[in-house]
């Protein structure tokens, strides 16, 4: 199977923080997740892929073509990004989703075509946001805004969908709803998805590949079972955890314990 995204020997970053020797492949049709502690370089990696941050060395290859050779517009036609927060303010949901068509418009295209409206409608229906189409973006809840963000990204008709912590500020209902929508898009449309996600259990449940980043380097990558072992997690997060399989899905799940509980266990162990 061919790769949608290949990253080779990537080095980039800011004066005080560097990503070094990043190598990974994302096969076409994957649902991949980037995990790691705060400040580990997840967002920096993301900004490198999205072209906001210039590379120091290495290559990012999208479907066999070097991303450096893409114009901004071509990039936007191939990679769509959903940010953590969507600040669209006082525009209607439909107008916001239609902005996803900008990469396909020339400078002199002042009006959306029928095709643009059709595409916007299709993806709004798919993400269940069509019913809000005339409301203002600011009137939607966080979860609904996130769905509209996904619809806007889909309207770009990308090969690869990138999401930056799409669920971090949402309750579990909306978390699961959004990830289910993404899963459905992934399976039905074959859309490749790469997301930064904080919640290890959600990452395990939804992603078929995980990339664990720590201190600007890749710590481990592979299927959730390989990455989410208690050794890896304790190593990277410096936190004691227990991993066990989710009884329904069989995927690894990560459990935390309070210091009090850990102390009691330690005392019990030392007694016996």
């Amino acid at each position: 199977m061919s790769n949608i995204l290949t990253i080779q020997n990537l080095n980039c970053g800011y004066p005080k923080f560097q990503l070094s020797d990043i190598n990974f492949d994302i096969p076409k049709g994957s649902f991949a997740g980037i995990i790691g502690p705060n400040g580990s370089g997840k967002t920096t990696l993301f900004r490198a892929i999205t072209g906001i941050l210039p590379l120091k060395s290495g290559q990012i290859i999208l479907s066999g073509k070097n991303l450096q050779s893409f114009s901004l517009r071509e990039r936007a036609q191939n990679i769509a990004i959903v940010s953590q927060f969507i600040e669209a303010g006082d525009m209607s949901v439909e107008d916001y989703v239609l902005m996803g068509r900008i990469p396909y418009h020339s400078r002199f295209n002042f009006f959306e075509t029928d095709e643009d409206f059709e595409i916007a409608r299709k993806y709004m229906e798919m993400t269940d946001t069509w019913r809000f189409k005339d409301q203002l973006m600011s009137e939607l809840s966080g979860g609904e805004q996130q769905l509209a963000g996904i619809a806007r990204a889909l309207a770009q008709q990308p090969q690869l969908l990138l999401l930056d912590e799409p669920t971090s500020h949402l309750d579990i209902t909306h978390q699961v709803h959004i990830l289910n929508v993404l899963q459905q898009l992934n399976q039905e449309m074959g859309l490749s998805v790469l997301m930064v996600i904080h919640d290890l259990n959600l990452a395990s449940e939804y992603c078929d590949r995980l990339i664990l980043v720590n201190q600007g380097k890749i710590h481990t990558q592979g299927i959730p079972e390989e990455v989410l072992t208690f050794q890896n997690i304790e190593d990277v997060y410096k936190t004691v955890v227990v991993t066990q399989n989710n009884p329904l899905s069989g995927k690894p799940a990560v459990f935390l314990a309070s210091r009090k509980v850990l102390k009691e266990i330690q005392e019990r162990l030392s007694k016996s």
């Binding site: 303010g89 006082d90 107008d95 902005m99 418009h105 409206f117």
Partner: protein
């Protein structure tokens, strides 16, 4: 039978498809139809305000008479008043009002800040400083009347250049730095002007103050035509940046994600807005508030889509200034008030009323 059912289903599907397609067309037209209505409404208002301005003054003429006066005589006194005194003011009002308002909406789009106006960035400070310099050192007596606008323009562009270079690093402009630099440079310019004013004779002082207060009274007809042509051309030019402006509503980084070269767009838009404001200040003096209030009101009225926002801001800026000028010259007739006073007071009050109404509305909504 089953085939019939299939056929039936297919037909209904096709029917649904047609209905869907049809409703989409109607909906689409609704948005654009609204835009056409806004445009038509503002054009009617502009024509009305022009007729008002041509007919009202020291010698009041009937609204309808204006046309016959203009079409008929070259000799009558009415013709001279309308064509030589009132028409130039109206044309300059359209040009300057439109230019200031367009400049304001462009800058607000670039900075994503509704409180930015052309003068926040030191454009008026620079122009005033240039003019004060010329008057204090008596340069305008040497060169002629063209010297004052030229000095104003040079002053404003010097400031713009300063602001721009200070806030550019590695070929990229930092928008926030630019805003702060603009405010600071503006302070320095106005303080320097105060310094000049404090040290000069009272006769020069009068000239400076008079210029600063702003007026649409410009004797040089060619200057008026240049200003009008420039501001209308800029309106067309601004439409080349409609896409970046619309995308920038989401933020600079997100606009980039949509394939927009934000760096170039921001630089060019900044230059265009500066040119508009610089020319306006140079010809008509410091007329404040138009560039702040009108874009704001338009945003409340037509929404935040720049495709309609640019042209409506231009037109309503023109209307606002033409009407303000009518008030300025009639309210204490035969004397005349500085137009900046009218735009500030009338515009400010209108704005406060509008704000209190919208905040009450949003309060009710949130309850």
């Amino acid at each position: 039978m089953a085939q019939d059912g299939d056929e039936c289903l297919r037909m209904t599907n096709f029917g649904m498809f047609l209905i869907k397609k049809h409703t989409r067309v109607i909906e689409m037209q609704k948005k654009y139809l609204q835009w056409v209505l806004y445009l038509a409404g503002l054009l009617v208002l502009l024509v009305a305000s022009v007729i008002l301005s041509l007919s009202v003054g020291e010698m009041n003429l009937g609204f309808m008479d204006v046309f016959s006066i203009l079409s008929k005589g070259h000799e009558s006194m009415e013709y001279t008043i309308v064509s030589q005194i009132r028409l130039p003011r109206v044309l300059l009002g359209i040009a300057v009002g439109g230019a200031l308002s367009l400049s304001g909406i462009l800058l607000q789009g670039v900075y994503r800040n509704p409180l930015v106006e052309p003068y926040t960035l030191g454009i008026s400070g620079g122009a005033s400083l240039g003019v004060a310099f010329v008057i204090v050192f008596g340069l305008h007596q040497l060169v002629g009347s063209f010297m004052l606008p030229a000095a104003g323009f040079a002053g404003s562009f010097l400031i713009i250049f300063l602001v721009y270079t200070i806030s550019t690093r590695n070929g990229r402009v930092n928008i926030q730095t630019m805003l702060l630099t603009g405010v600071m440079v503006s302070f320095i310019a106005s303080s320097s002007m105060m310094l000049l004013m404090a040290t000069t004779s009272s006769e020069n002082l009068h000239g400076i103050v008079f210029w600063i207060m702003g007026s649409l009274d410009e004797p040089d007809m060619s200057l008026i035509y240049i200003t009008l042509a420039l501001s209308i051309c800029s309106l067309f030019a601004s439409y080349l940046f409609v896409q970046p402006l619309n995308a920038l509503r989401l933020g600079e980084e997100k606009a980039k994600h949509l394939g927009i070269n934000t760096d170039t767009a921001i630089k060019l838009l900044f230059l265009l807005a500066s040119l508009l404001a610089g020319v306006s200040v140079a010809v008509a003096g410091v007329i404040g508030f138009v560039g702040l209030i009108i874009p704001h009101l338009m945003r409340l009225l037509v929404g935040s889509d720049y495709r309609i926002l640019l042209v409506t801001s231009f037109l309503s800026g023109s209307i606002f200034l033409v009407i303000s000028d009518v008030i300025a010259r009639t309210i204490i007739s035969p004397n005349e008030l500085p137009i900046g006073v009218i735009t500030g007071i009338a515009g400010g009050i209108a704005f406060l009323l509008m704000m209190s109404r919208t905040s009450i509305r949003s309060l009710n909504k949130s309850r």
